[in-house]
């Protein structure tokens, strides 16, 4: 095998696309954890719902763009219900309890998906406009994958602007630092938590909707993803959004490049990197820094 740059470059780009999906999932997990100290185990199941909802809305509206918009919104709305009627009952109890509850929820969602859409899984084609490949000058790359990278960058910029440039964003950042103080200032944190949980779930739905045309939709698609996204969050530093972005891209590269040299090691390398980071820096790359810093 010849290790030419031309052969490795597509892997790097494929890794970047996977990294984008990791980033969207990890940033939602991290945002929810940073503010509410809740680990949402159902994040993977919501990612799966995002993909299925896209297939569903595509069949209904025949319009990929509309489906891509509606699916994450629906997943976000579902997240609001989950927070309001399930997670909220567990505030003040052991931090393990929301994790256990969302674990049960993810079992329920996976089995429901199997009941509704079958066990085998569905395929999803990218829209015709993004069907071909784009010549980047040095190589050709599927247009849809470039689109995934672009969407993620836009969403990240929007999220960053929301958190740093709006009043609600300010409250979210303050709430993750010192919820008691924010409450003392007369702010209803329950509504903020509801909103953040919804946004986090919506991001998981978006990740699933974007991944659908590349990987299809199947009931257990989120299980490995949620574990790997959590690894991303641990490596990046829990609660640090910048850490989630950096570590997500890094893990995408780790998987992409390992796939090129030794495909059977790709799944394992993610965990090896995690173990190394834990040894050297137990709090993760950006562990000490607070939200958005």
């Amino acid at each position: 095998m010849e290790f030419s740059v031309a052969a490795v470059l597509p892997q790097i780009f494929t890794g970047l696309v996977l990294g984008m999906i990791f980033v969207l999932l990890a940033i939602g997990l991290s945002l929810i954890f940073g503010l509410m100290t809740v680990v949402n185990f159902a994040h993977g199941a919501l990612y799966m719902l995002g993909a299925y909802f896209t297939v569903f809305f595509l069949g209904y509206t025949r319009n990929f763009w509309l489906a891509l918009l509606l699916a994450p919104l629906m997943v976000g709305m579902f997240g609001l219900l989950v927070e309001r009627f399930l997670i909220r009952r567990l505030y003040g109890r052991s931090p393990d309890d929301p994790l256990l509850l969302t674990f049960g929820l993810s079992l329920v969602l996976i089995e429901t998906a199997k009941l509704l859409w079958g066990k085998i899984g569905l395929t999803l084609d990218p829209p015709r406009e993004l069907g071909g490949a784009v010549n980047l000058g040095f190589m050709a790359f599927p247009a849809y994958r470039l689109f995934v990278i672009a969407v993620t960058v836009v969403v990240l910029l929007a999220l960053w602007a929301f958190l740093t440039r709006t009043n609600v964003g300010l409250i979210i950042r303050a709430g993750s630092r010192d919820p008691l103080m924010v409450r003392a200032l007369g702010i209803d944190l329950n509504r903020i938590w509801l909103l953040v949980f919804g946004i986090g779930c919506g991001l998981a739905g978006l990740a699933g909707a974007l991944a659908g045309p590349m990987r299809g939709a199947y009931a257990e698609m989120g299980v490995t993803m949620v574990i790997e996204s959590f690894v991303v969050v641990v490596v990046g530093g829990m609660g640090s959004l910048l850490g989630a972005v950096v570590a997500g891209i890094m893990m995408g590269q780790v998987v992409g490049i390992t796939t090129f040299f030794a495909p059977q090691l790709a799944e394992i390398m993610v965990f090896v990197v995690m173990a190394l980071v834990l040894l050297v820096r137990p709090s993760g790359i950006f562990g000490e820094a607070g939200l958005m810093e």
């Binding site: 009952r89 674990f103 049960g104 929820l105 329920v108 429901t112 834990l278």
Partner: protein, 326 residues
């Protein structure tokens, strides 16, 4: 009912004795005898998990790792290395689980709380992928096949474990030893410190206890019990499916322990029995039985966090004494 109170009191004073009496006749109380062995083995698995979660306060989401290591250790020793002795084969599994538990525990205990839970899960998935790809040693996706059910050699006596009842009482003897061992651990100063750490780790540290070392020890003991359960299951099935390392297995033991009652002596066995009977009954009606179990589990987390046994003990007259509480 004074009678019930007396029984509960006796159970509380002699939990190991009560366990022996109940499980000695247990195969004759369930619909079919193979289910009895399953309850016993998964109860032991849940007992190991409960030592870590219920008594030490550490939620592991990756206990499939030690169960699977136990199963593969025994399976590989008997099927691949062709060790001619059942005892040596049976020892290999828990030994491997203990080594794995010591190594993984070292990494996971670098973080606390929620991180710990997800790290244990990540390491279990790592082992799953390794077992999946090391097909020469583990059989990969097909599972490890051809584990012989050698006869038990006890001081020259040869006892066959090929019959369902023969295997049950062989497993029963070992699980009784494990239950007695757990009781011994819980009654020791070490066991008391475990519960102190669960209640308040900082305070235990302030009292001069090396909290991280004690947690690590608890982790290793927990892996030992889980590994023994895995080893017994490898003998029972004569095969180790690669799913024994999968996250679903880790989830099962979490569900079983919480259904029964975390932090109670009998809870894990109550939970394992409930789960397996539910699975057995529900799978007749629907393929989606995990959906029902998931809903039941969510209901328990929300409304009955003490589990079946924990709630009974808290609410029945004389119930508290069944857990050895005054």
């Amino acid at each position: 009912m004074p009678g019930a109170r007396a029984v509960a009191g006796w159970v509380g004073r002699h939990p190991v004795g009560a366990f022996v009496v109940f499980f000695a006749v247990f195969p004759f109380l369930v619909p079919y005898k193979a289910l009895a062995s399953q309850v016993l083995i998964f109860g032991l698995f849940a007992l190991g998990f409960n030592l870590l979660y219920g008594y030490t306060g550490l939620l592991s989401f990756g206990h499939a790792a030690y169960y699977g290591l136990g199963a593969y250790g025994t399976g590989i020793a008997l099927a691949k290395l062709k060790l001619g002795s059942l005892w040596l084969g049976l020892a290999a599994g828990p030994l491997l689980a203990v080594l794995g538990g010591a190594a993984i525990g070292f990494f996971c205990l670098r973080r606390r709380g929620i991180y710990f839970a997800m790290l244990t899960l990540a390491f279990a998935q790592l082992l799953y992928f390794i077992a999946f790809h090391l097909a020469d040693l583990t059989g990969g996706d097909d599972g490890l096949r051809g584990i012989p059910q050698l006869p038990v050699n006890l001081f020259g006596w040869k006892i066959s474990i090929e019959s369902t009842l023969g295997f049950y009482y062989f497993a029963f003897a070992l699980v009784c030893l494990a239950v007695a061992g757990l009781k011994r651990i819980l009654d020791s100063p070490f066991g008391t410190v475990l519960q102190a750490i669960r209640e308040n780790g900082d305070r235990a540290a302030a009292c001069g206890y090396d909290v991280r070392r004690i947690k690590h020890l608890s982790f290793v003991f927990s892996a030992l019990f889980a590994g023994l359960a895995g080893a017994l299951d490898a003998l029972r099935l004569a095969v180790v499916p690669v799913e024994s390392l999968y996250w679903v297995t880790s989830g099962q033991v979490v569900i079983m322990t919480l259904l029964g009652g975390a932090g109670t002596f009998f809870g894990p066995f109550v939970g394992a029995g409930t789960y397996l009977v539910l699975e057995d009954r529900l799978s007749v009606f629907t393929e989606s039985w995990p959906l029902v179990i998931g809903l039941i589990f969510m209901t328990f987390v929300l409304f009955l966090p003490k589990g079946i046994w924990g709630t009974l003990v808290a609410n029945l007259p004389g119930g508290a004494s069944a857990e050895g509480q005054p």
